[in-house]
Amino acid sequence: MAQSDGIGRRRFMEMSGATIIAAGAADLMGCATAPARPTAPTEGIGYFSRFGVTERMIADAIAAAMSRGADHADVFFQHEVSTTLALQDGAVNRAAAGAVLGVGVRAVKGEQQGYGFTEDLTAEALRECAWTAAAIADGTPRAGPGAFHVPGRLPQRYPMKIRWDDVRPEQRLPLLTGLNERALAADPRIRKVNVALADSVGVILVADARGRIVEDLQPMTRLFLSCVAEQDGRREEAGYNVAGRAGFEFYDAARLDRVVRRAVERTVNLFEAVPAPAGEMPVVLAAGSSGILLHEAIGHGMEADFNRKGTSIYADKIGKPIARPFVSIVDDATLEGARGAINVDDEGNDAGRTVLVEKGVLATYMHDAISARHYGVRPTGNGRRESYRHAPLPRMRATYMLPGPHKVEEIVASVKKGIWCDYFTNGQVQIGAGDFTFYVKSGRMIEDGKLGRPVKDINIIGNGPKVLELVDMVADDLVIDEGGWTCGKDGQMVPVSQGIPTVRVGSITVGGQRKG
């Protein structure tokens, strides 16, 4: 909500009152040498003991947070070190490194929350935050935890074979310079190449009033390659990026080949583009990053906070059919190495697979602890936050549609006149009205069942429930996109994944520049 002036924020972060998603390296910040080696703890306070954090400090803080009658309280510690190396004009001539260290304390009374945070990991600072948070309630003190326990072993969804703190700059630099040389060599029209390689290793600790204590080590890496090409005095720019929770091994030969090939192809293909039509028509969404459709058309609307407040267009639709029987949509924390994977959510709850739409019927919302209590259901492990500066919210992880009964060829062949889209940059939705958009950086015309000339820079706008009803063909070629998607909600950015098989939307408004 427009709380401060938008200029100078991230390129895609200027909107108010709605949620957004964006791909690409709008700003890669952060990232290099680890001041201390993060190692996965086994029980109690492992990692954060190096900062002087003790169970006693945490117990005192939680007791202070409960001192005015809160139902629940938790603390969230975060330490993250990150490095970005960037290449421009042929040389890796800039680096960014970052360290984030802090703690947030929350008190919860019903659906009300008090929140305080600090960078100062001392008992006094923690207690002060807790008192601030406690003020949300106004009653008699409730007891904090007497002792802490580690609730079972966490899954291991992001194994790192080559840990980032073992990778020297001398190993990273050739990756960037090699991609630059290959992109320039791939097509003589390429004039400028930018490459950025980012990695981070973060550790979180969640402890709560029930005595639960959980630590998780969460790596992330992202590689971005963009090209500017020139032909007959015209210029075009495009790129490709990949991301995952993995170590340096993520960048195998096949992935690097794909990054160069896709970035270059996407750029030079734009020279062939014809103006896109304007108006309603069938749209075929290619497998993979077209999952942005699900993120916007239904994902945000299924986050339980909007539903418990009655502000989502899906607020009274659980158990009702909203799509064809071959449409099933899930939000999944378990995809190994995916950008949206988590072992545990930021409230310490187990994170698994949540079925949002089962055979066309709306099944389950995505919950954080507050909404789960509101609805009397188990939390779904969707309580996530950008950092210790923020209270958690229900958020997506990896959202995708399961394979359907159709073949890609028959889907394309079924369209007399429409467009096919495979390259997206961002999207946005209005939760209540249900109107959503996604931006097609490039695609192709479909004429008489065949793919034709490229089209580019088209916003597509539709209404969530209406468009889901119009998803009338789903292929069997599910792809989880490997791109670095970031989702924004209430000013908080979190990493997510998305995927989809090739689908056809019978009719949707295409925002082209010529009367269709």
Binding site: M15, T132, P169, R235, V429, D457, G511
Partner: protein, 441 residues
């Protein structure tokens, strides 16, 4: 335990030098922020914290890196800076990287920008809560409030302080307050849609913001006006773009106006200085010295003394946003890295009159998603608003889209309003375009 943050910035540059950097620029910052969110009769969330951090640019043996940390413990910082300098040494040299010329630090305006409101000290938790509550109550008092599903309001304030220290002689301090208030209202439509609308204000001084009741009333009135919104037909038409959202359109030009975009050959505005980009009504200056302005500053993000300059004069492109680094690469004098406040050439008419004169078309009150290709100038943005019929605002429209190319679109600007939006540093007035391509059914 208060840390002297100027000392932190100075100490960081000293650490950088000890670790082997020839030059460094440090910025330390501390922000105290309090916010209250209110929903449907009670407090939803209260957040209160003081947060701090440090960022540091390093110039090491002709090489460059930028680092940031919130871990300011002395021994951790020393190690962090040492590691960062070691990392910087591994990079390729970059002859264009250096601190700004000292001469550009000189000549800061001798004005009091009044960025800090002493009234902050008197704002209490009770007062914030009452303001949020009053905004909701006003929203629920409007005619037709029976359709309201939910009202969320909020208010808050921050005090931000920062200290900038460069090893070539610059030191600067900045303190600023912000006060914001917002209301969002969801209403239930006959077809099951729950359209939402909002109103919000941000000001450096508390007295610059409207009363909470006004914010709540406007949010509810806007939300109720969305009931029954439909998609219209695709056509080329006149658009009257509300001042509140016109920044979403003009903001798309900021990327291609940047030195980085020019130097990287991804700006559709390259080589356009001195040429007409838009109609003569497109008249925009960058003005960092507006008293109480949201973008006001005495020095910019590199320490350069801030001064007003024209960006577009009667439609003609006069200046780009160029920082020291890309200025050196482009062999151009730096202006400033990014916008401060925008000052628009004067408009004489209010929005109602502009709608009357438009006769037929669309009044755009919101953009949804979309993007702009800074390399070619093509853009495509979702929109909603109202049909203009017979010079009057008529039925609501939604789920439509505007497409165009900046190099052509701004020439269609035929009128600007007298109503610059005060709650954003872009300060856009209502803008009227003729013959814009809108997609719908």
């Amino acid at each position: 335990m208060a840390i002297d943050m100027l000392d932190v910035a100075r100490a960081a540059t000293a650490m950088a030098r000890r670790a082997g950097a020839q030059d460094a620029a440090a910025v330390s910052g501390r922000t105290r922020g309090v916010s209250v969110e209110w929903r449907d009769g009670k407090v939803e969330k209260v957040s209160e914290a003081t947060t701090r951090g440090l960022s540091l640019e390093l110039y090491v043996d002709g090489r460059y890196a930028v680092v940031s940390t919130s871990d300011l413990r002395a021994e951790a910082l020393e190690r962090f800076v040492g590691d960062a300098v070691a990392l910087t040494r591994k990079l390729a040299p970059d002859p264009f990287r250096a601190l700004p010329e000292r001469a550009l630090y000189e000549g800061q305006a001798r004005v009091d920008l009044q960025l800090e409101d002493p009234a902050l000290a008197a704002v209490t938790a009770t007062r914030r809560r009452q303001a949020a509550q009053a905004a909701e109550e006003a929203a629920r008092a409007v005619k037709g409030a029976g359709a309201i599903v939910s009202v969320s309001t909020g208010t808050g304030d921050t005090l931000s302080e920062s200290w900038r220290v460069h090893t070539n002689g610059f030191e600067g301090t900045r303190r600023a307050t912000d006060f914001w208030i917002s209301a969002q209202v969801s209403v239930k439509d006959a077809d099951g849609r729950r359209p939402e609308e909002w109103d919000a204000a941000t000001g450096r001084h508390l007295a610059m913001n409207p009363q909470p009741e006004e914010v709540g009333w406007r949010a509810a009135t806007r939300a109720l006006s969305r009931l029954g919104a439909r998609k219209g037909a695709s056509a080329a038409m006149t658009l009257v773009v509300d001042a509140r959202v016109a920044g979403r359109l003009f903001g798309r030009l900021l990327d291609p106006l940047s030195g980085a975009a020019l130097q990287q050959k991804r700006s559709c505005l390259e080589g356009k200085a001195g040429l007409a980009l838009g109609s003569p009504l497109l008249d925009v200056a960058d003005d960092p010295l507006v008293p109480r302005g949201l973008g006001s500053r005495l020095f910019d993000g590199e320490g350069l003394a801030a001064r007003r300059f024209p960006v577009l004069e009667k439609g003609v492109l006069r200046n780009y946003y160029v920082d020291t680094y890309y200025g050196r690469k482009l062999k151009a004098a730096p202006t400033t890295r990014g916008p401060s406040n925008l000052a628009w050439g004067p408009g004489a008419k209010g929005q109602d009159q502009l709608v009357r004169e438009a006769g037929e078309g669309l009044l755009v009150t919101g953009f949804l998603g979309g993007n702009s290709n800074g390399t070619t100038g093509d853009f495509s943005l979702g929109l909603q608003g109202f049909r203009i019929h017979g010079g009057e605002r008529a039925e609501p429209v939604a789920e439509m889209n505007l497409s165009g190319n900046h190099l052509e679109f701004w020439k269609r600007l035929v009128a600007v309003g007298d109503d610059p939006y005060p709650y954003s540093s872009m300060r856009t007035p209502t803008l009227v375009f003729e013959g814009a391509q809108v997609a719908g059914t």
